[in-house]
């Protein structure tokens, strides 16, 4: 149910699964992004720090919200995305992305709360996103 083409507060986005990401996927992301932090790539280092495996790059996970949002509402443009990395997602864990609408208005756009869950009960990422009609963004 939408009002003036906008989603209603409380509307939930379809859950999206990404991953699991293996060591090769983390290496590819490191090459593409330039983020070669050894914590993500060196299994021995991760274990020496008390982790069960290298954690997936937080940025790789946060970036995955954008295609989820585009699949949900391709008519709206993403203008803001922010996230706190609460809990690591480890190599070879699947990740569930979810979200719901907090506010929606023609003037201010759509504000969403987003979550990424890995194997832990606690969210890996708690994020917020703002979407707006592209013509409003371009009007500045």
């Amino acid at each position: 149910m939408t009002t003036h083409g906008l989603p209603a507060p409380g509307e939930r986005l379809p859950e999206t699964q990404i991953g699991p990401f293996d060591a090769a996927a983390l290496a590819r992301y490191a090459d593409v992004s330039g983020d070669h932090n050894p914590l993500h790539l060196d299994d021995a280092l991760a274990r020496s720090l008390g982790l069960p495996a290298p954690p997936v790059h937080g940025m790789k996970l946060l970036a995955a919200f954008e295609p989820m949002l585009a699949a949900w509402r391709s008519d709206l443009a993403l203008t803001r995305l922010s996230g706190k990395f609460i809990q690591p997602v480890f190599c070879n864990e699947k990740v569930i992305l979810s979200g719901r609408v907090l506010r929606a208005s023609r003037a201010e756009g759509v504000l969403l709360r987003l979550f990424a869950h890995g194997g832990a009960r606690v969210p890996a990422i708690i994020a917020e996103a703002s979407l707006i009609a592209p013509e409003l963004r371009d009007a500045g």
Binding site: L49, G58, A63
Partner: protein, 139 residues
Amino acid sequence: MGADTSSAALAQETRLGPIRVRVDKDRLAAFCRETGFKERPDGVAPICFISVWLSSPDVHSAISRQFAAENKLPLHESQSFDCRLPLRSGESYDLVVALRHEEAPPRVVVNAEVSTLQGSLCLRAETLLRIVSRGGLGA
């Protein structure tokens, strides 16, 4: 470009740029592939694409100087992107980065702005990196 990395500046803020950057078509395609973003026919890049510039050698080495000597590792604590104008494939932009070291808790704050070559602001990003000992997370 030039980095003001004197010891006095490091204690306060290190500024880099403007650094000329470009949304390289091949790198954009690879970034999209690795993050699940479906490439758009209008060439608009994902909002997170700026992160590849923040990992460039100039910026990365300035960030690393904030903690590498102490045998520490950065942990990504939070990240935000605020987009005014979309970045587009093949276009060039100016990137300005400001780094600030905080003591309690120990972390590096990275603020970045991307503007068109005519000076219009496109995107702001803020990265918080928690600095931890290699001897144990949170130590």
